[in-house]
Symmetry: C2
Subunit: 177 residues, 2 copies
DNA sequence: GTAACTATCTATATATCGATAGGTATTTTG
DNA sequence: CAAAATACCTATCGATATATAGATAGTTAC
């Protein structure tokens, strides 16, 4: 029996990824979860607090996923491929990246969220750089920037065109040299 | 010729690029331009119509800019650099790409806008591919996808970190061989 | 076993949303 | 000139936004 707070985060996450954080209301959220809007305010005092909780949760989940990949997948290229697959999966669900979305809406999110977004992408870049380094690239710092940028940008284009394969195509370039 | 309509588009464009299309209201727009919200409805019957007008205008402007660059800048690499500079300029104005923003908010825009966004990015990719082809790349089709993806993604990261140079760094990879 | 806490509800407040009706100058056109 | 179109306005609608107060039932702590 999933608790209400988790359900709220699940639905809010999906709505943010599909329509944007400013593209849904507490009423939308309440009706989907089956509670009243006042109950959402009980768990997340303001909508800004909900945004913060969303970023924190996805950040934690991704850091954990990075750790699991490091421990379980014995090849850096395959580890990177696993992340690419996650993003390809978004396309089929008509989703953008949650932190990419909030970064797009940057000027309408709280300073606290802005800080978290910077940390999220910094952590992602660091992890990607580590993989690229293991793959033998000497310019892993700059290449990781290119990797993450292409990942976000190609996801935007892939969803727009309903073609998940655009992500892999765009990233091929980054792995060349 | 009333320039109210132009002013409305100018401000709406900036608000979309900074806060997202769902991040501002007709009242925000009206107050900045100095008219009443009913006047906005006179020029753009619904907010969806405003979105359409925004995409159409920027699409026309960019197609025109591509043509001017082709006519006036005698080197493909410099022509590409000119586009990169436009995106670097966005960072200093805390803007994202207008069509990138609406693509992020994809699930909350009208089917008409979705179609226009596809055309916008298709035209951009075609033009970039032409430049890359002139630069001697034989994989210009795939490389243009990588270029545009990196451009959009790195703009997201650049604004997030207030560092316009991230765009050029990310794109260096694409121009390598 | 009662006091405090948790998680929800009802009910409401205040503000704003996009949108429309209808009026009024000004400009254009036949 | 008169009719029509243009570009605003005032006034207002119904719906929805985020948010709060206070009641209630169930659970936990002392």
């Amino acid at each position: 029996m999933t608790d209400t707070k988790t359900k709220l985060l699940d639905v809010a996450e999906r709505l943010t990824q599909t329509k944007g954080f400013n593209g849904f209301s507490y009423l939308d959220l309440a009706e989907e979860v089956g509670v009243k809007t006042s109950s959402i305010h009980y768990h997340f005092k303001t909508k800004a607090d909900l945004a913060l909780a969303l970023v924190d949760r996805v950040h934690g989940a991704h850091v954990a996923a990075f750790g699991q990949l490091d421990a379980q997948v014995p090849n850096a290229e395959n580890r990177l491929a696993a992340i690419v697959e996650v993003f390809e999966g978004y396309v089929n669900d008509d989703k953008f990246c949650l932190c990419g979305m909030l970064s797009a809406e940057f000027q309408s999110v709280s300073p606290a969220v802005r800080g978290r977004l910077r940390t999220y992408f910094q952590d992602m870049r660091s992890w990607v750089a580590k993989q690229l380094n293991e793959m033998g690239f000497t310019d892993s710092d700059n290449r990781s920037l290119s990797f993450v940028s292409s990942l976000e940008g190609s996801l935007l284009l892939a969803r727009l065109n309903g073609d998940a394969s655009l992500i892999g195509s765009a990233l091929e370039q980054v792995k060349q040299n």
